[in-house]
Amino acid sequence: MTQQTPHQITRILFQDFPHWMVAVFYGVAIVAIAVFLWGVFIQLRKYAKGKRDKNLWAVARHCIGDTIATVLSHRAIRRRDQAAGGVHAIIFYGFALLFIGTATVTLQYDILGPFGINFWYGTFYLIFKLVLNIAGLGLILGLVYMMVRRGWIKPPKLNYARPDRSRADPDYNRDFYRIEDWAFLWTLILIGITGFVLSGARLVWLQAEPSVWDYRWWSPAGAAVAVALKILGISAADAAKLRLGLWWFHGLLALTFIALIPYTKAKHIFTAIGAWLVRDPEAVRRLPVGDLDQAKIGYTEIGDFGRHYLLQADACTKCGRCHEACPANATGYPLSPRDLILTVREHANQQLTPSFLGLGHAAPISILGDGNVQIRSETLWACRQCGACTEICPVAVEHVPIINLLRRSLVEAGDMDPMLQKTLDAVNKTGNSFNESRRKRPRWAKDIGFEIKDARKEPVDILWFLGDFASFDPRSQKVSRTFARILHEAEIDFGILYEAETTAGNDIRRVGEEGLFQTLAEGNVATLAECDFKRIVTTDPHSYNTLKNEYPAFGGNYRIDHASALLKELIDTGAISLSKKLDYKVTYHDPCHLGRFNKGYDPPRAAIAGTGVDFVELPRSRDNSFCCGGGGGRVWVPDPPGVTKPGENRVREAGTIAGLDMLVVNCPKCMTMLEDAVKTAGFEGKFQVKELIELVAEAMDMDGKMAAPAAAELVQ
């Protein structure tokens, strides 16, 4: 064995290549990069055709830290699917290292080399080889897992069958995407495998050179292939030929892959990161303010979309997490957030990218309609605006505002359920969705035995904003009376707005009636401006959300708490004492607007814990809570016969808990929907739907004070 100088331990690029072959390679590489750049240009130009409705650079600057952390930690991809997320991390890091490796070679050979600066040799070179070998192996194994997942495990969320199209529809399965998925996996895995075989062939070819052969185990995978080739009896000369052929195959495949990145799902490497950079963390709970003076208030054409939404549509990798989480999809409604986003993408590609080398565009069509790359109104109306999709999307797609902005156009055109139209008319006329006279709003408080302060006339510590259901719905009125008694018992200085309250408009906005929402918001802000209070408390998570997150845009900045937070506070401070330990087995349904929207997960659980009950979590809880079906204005639109209501799906989930006594809710709309679902799904008599407030009241043992009014109710 002769001693090698470190400079000899390296890989000679284009070893033994004739000049013309090197020239051809560079030619092909330049073409590939040109195709790549053209693709990038086309995509960027497509995004630029969207509306500039916010300063994306400013958003990106703000989000950069979070984006880097999210990408590096893979925390978003690992949520609710550790296996796929973890494997994706391996592929990601493998790919990234291989890319950095290739870039390093380029740096050495094409940039620093000509100036006589060399570093790619010796120990550095050997470690480099080892690292890239491990990365390559990881990449291949990761890709194999993904193939097994797609081919054998087949999780339902990866099924591309569309709930918004019939089986007979040619676009029912989106077959193109399935072909693309497999082509993507095979291309990458072939690049990886040929890389290792190439490496092995080179070792066999150069086996006589100690500077190569003696260090072969620094590339363990390549060396293993070399051993196998030798066992198969491949000579050095044969290996030289094999190496040359594989070199070109591997090289051309890799260049083709690079060239096609902007045109295929591979672009998610860039678009997903881009989508995280321009992400709005408040997208679900604070919808975009519509300008009522503009000619248009909602989206009808792809050019109306914000640029960030077009980018998001390209970020989608069809991972199916939204598809899986969506309550409409889960119960057979013609909506999958995934398919809606893909339709936006396809529509944008058809409308906003040149049909051939920049010449000519498709004639503009509406994105709303029954056609191939259009979104149907029934699809948009199936949405509950519960935010489950946007919450779980690993690439920061904001389905909720997109659906809302499309719905604004449907509302403008009157394309909605007649019941919903009546409700909107009623809200406009009476300020409430029950079409009751304004005078009736405080009537729930008539017989509670004490006078509730009029917050319009005297200062109060707590201004209780009730919302429509708590004021008018008979079941929720009971809860309101109970809450009033708790506050009274705790000697809280509180008041209500009496007739002056109008619906806060959270759901009106989520329906897409932006003008009516703004009118309501302006009205309530003006009313509240006349009142003297320290903070607002509401029993209604919907009102809570909009007052807290959306009213500031209309000049209403308040300190506001949900009733559950106040209850916890009263328990903690000892203002109320839960003297009676309750012996029930209960579970808790997180209202979307309190939990997912505003992260109010813990106060209600703390209050439940205080009552001494046996508490069991629902399988889907906290951020993964499953909407009762009443969000997004759907509480006003009855579910058609024949479909399972989301609420039924939810109470069945609760029904899986053995020995359950109560499903505790914390929202008047959830109360309405789930109490109804308990009846229709056949759980009546098995467990009850109870408000957290009622549970707390029971534990307070206010017997003496509550018995009389409770009896009065029965007589009514």
């Binding site: 019941m419 009855p638 058609p640």
Partner: protein, 322 residues
Amino acid sequence: MAGILIIAEHRQGQFRPVTLEAVAAAEKLQASSGESIAVAVIAPQPAVFVPWVSVSAVDEVVTVTTPNAEFDPDVTGTAVKALIAARKPSVVLMPHSVDSFGVAPAIAAELGVGFATDVFDLRYDGGELVATRAAYKEKVFVEIDFPGKETVLLTIRSNAFKPAGGTGQPAVTEISVPGIEPRTEHLGWQEPPASGGIDIPGAEFIMSVGRGVGDEANIEQFVELAEALGATLGCSRPIADNGWLPKARQVGQSGKLAANCKLYIAMGISGAVQHQWGMKHVENIIAVNKDADASIFTVAKYGVVGDMFEIAEELKAQAGGN
């Protein structure tokens, strides 16, 4: 001259008995004013209808021969104006029907006579004619008078007066009215859509649903309930207008009369007067409504203030168990 003049109504060659309810209203006035009662028959062959209006209260039948058979507001209008000019009656009564909707206001406007519609009670108060009608979805009654008017034209709500009966021998006077010029071209009739075996007039037990049902999706529940109870399913106008149930199931003025009904259950029906027209005569009416002040409770024998869906579920559950 004075007197009470009633304009008889007919359609498709048939006398419309609502005319006799107007005669009964006239009788009530006659009791205090003592005026004579005349009925005008305006038709191509008025003699056909004379026997129909020859009830005991009628003193005279006035006939006007017209060129066209079917209702034309200009023909009826010209004839009635001529009769009022000739007879100067103190009160002219017409049934409050779709045809009188189409002509009475025009007559009143042209002649400047006192005018009120949909009147269900009338009387003299110190020589002053007072007509009573309802407003605000039947929640209030309104008394109307006609200061300084020598002639007052009123349209009389159907089912408010029991049709006048008995046989009389009124004098028949033929009056010729010149210048009758029809402007409406009658193009034919459109019969209500085939009932498809739905027989509201013949049914003895009807359960009807109204606006309270809320949505088309909820109809099915009541179809099933009606079947379970053995009732014929009926509905109020908005349900038929929305196409949620066929028109043949609509009970009310523009729908069907529950002519043979013995038991009527009204679910989520507030009880608009047009609906009441079709069912309020039924002896046993059960009304279920969430609004305790709904006017349906003024005609129902039994009332339930509550949620129609809850009641329906209970009914189905309990009826199914029997």
